[in-house]
Amino acid sequence: MTERVLIVDDEEDLRYVYTRQLRGDGYLLDTAADGEEAIEKIRATEYAVILTDMRMPRKDGLAVIAAAREHLPDAEIIVLTGHGSLENALQAFKSGNIFEYLLKPLG
């Protein structure tokens, strides 16, 4: 079975970078431009992994994590965040079972 991966970031360039980076690894890649869109997709699709930014317009990363916990109990969550939002990232960690915490910029 091909695993689905959801990439959530409000910056189009970053979505592009992540997508291009993972393109060769054999997953079905999907993107969302904010928390709201991500939550809608999480409700409808069984993602194996969700990569999410923390600071986003409309719903933020915490809301995305909460929705994933509710609808996709098996999914792993990877948090991507900029240097400026350490506090937010800490909150994400506290909300439980984050697989990995990656600092932007990548590479």
Partner: protein, 293 residues
């Protein structure tokens, strides 16, 4: 992050862990289902075990009773013949008649006891879980009546029997089927207030060939939500019930290739119907019949 390649590794590891977790959860759920199934099966096994134990006991009792009963019948007949031939000199006519009547009652009582022992023996013989033979369902029902009729009478309930003649024989385990019918009759008794009637009917079925047995009561009936669940293991509406009686009944009937149904109208009573397919293989070949007898 110095190397964006690590990004791929992190996602790959996340996928791996997620798949493992998912697999574990599925295994756990499978295990739970298997455990639940096992628990139900073991309850049923215990119940079957009890039935076999009762069978062994019944066989013992029956054999022990048969010898003295034969003696009772034999001696009573002997005395009856002697009395018939000549009246003892010191008896008057009334005493003589009364004694003869008493002897007749004694023989009748002994015959009735012998029939009960026969029922017990048939029950005992078939309590081995896989013992099958050609069965006359009417006879199986009559055996079930022996064990249940007194119970109904004691509760002021009439047992109405409408057994159709010439039913096709069924290939099966008569004790287990008797267990089913006994259960249905006792359930019907428990649902019926004093003054009511429990009716047991048999009928031939042609398409497919077989036998229908209906057990009807004039009790309070069963609400629709209970009807749906009534054959589920551990589902019970009785305070002291185990919820196994009807689920075991269903299991036994299905083991015989038959089916069990229920219909009920609140306030009017309930009707349990059992279909058993007619035997085809064993009726045609008489040698088979000898082998299994």
């Amino acid at each position: 992050l110095d190397d964006i390649g690590v990004f791929n590794t992190v996602v790959a590891r996340a996928i791996e862990r997620r798949n493992l977790r998912k697999h574990n959860r599925e295994l756990f759920e499978q295990l739970q289902r298997a455990y639940e199934e096992l628990r139900q099966k073991s309850e049923m096994l215990i119940q079957n075990e009890k039935m076999s134990a009762i069978g062994v006991l019944a066989a013992g009792v029956a054999h022990e009773l048969n010898n003295p009963l034969t003696a009772v019948v034999g001696f009573a007949q002997m005395i009856a013949e002697k009395l018939k031939a000549s009246r003892p000199a010191n008896w008057n006519d009334t005493e003589y008649e009364r004694a003869q009547q008493a002897l007749e009652n004694l023989v009748q009582g002994a015959h009735r006891a012998r029939d009960i022992v026969g029922s017990l023996l048939r029950f005992a013989r078939a309590t081995k879980p896989d013992a099958r033979s050609l069965i006359d369902i009417n006879q199986t029902l009559r055996d079930a009546f022996v064990f249940t009729e007194h119970l109904l009478l004691r509760h002021g309930i009439m047992l109405e029997k409408r057994l159709a003649p010439e039913l096709p024989p069924v290939w099966g385990n008569s004790a287990r089927l008797q267990h089913v019918f006994t259960n249905l009759i006792i359930n019907a008794q428990q649902a019926t207030p004093s003054g009511g009637t429990v009716r047991v009917l048999t009928e031939r079925a042609e398409q497919p060939k077989g036998v229908w047995v209906h057990v009807e009561d004039t009790g309070e009936g069963i609400p629709p939500e209970a009807l749906e669940r009534i054959f589920e293991p551990f589902y019970t509406r009785k305070e002291q019930g185990t919820g196994l009686g009807l689920s075991i009944a269903k299991q036994i009937i299905e083991e015989h290739g038959g089916e069990i149904r229920v219909a009920s109208e609140l306030g009017k009573g309930a009707r349990f119907s059992v279909f058993l397919p007619a035997d085809e293989a064993h009726t045609i070949d008489p040698t088979q019949r000898v082998r299994v007898a």
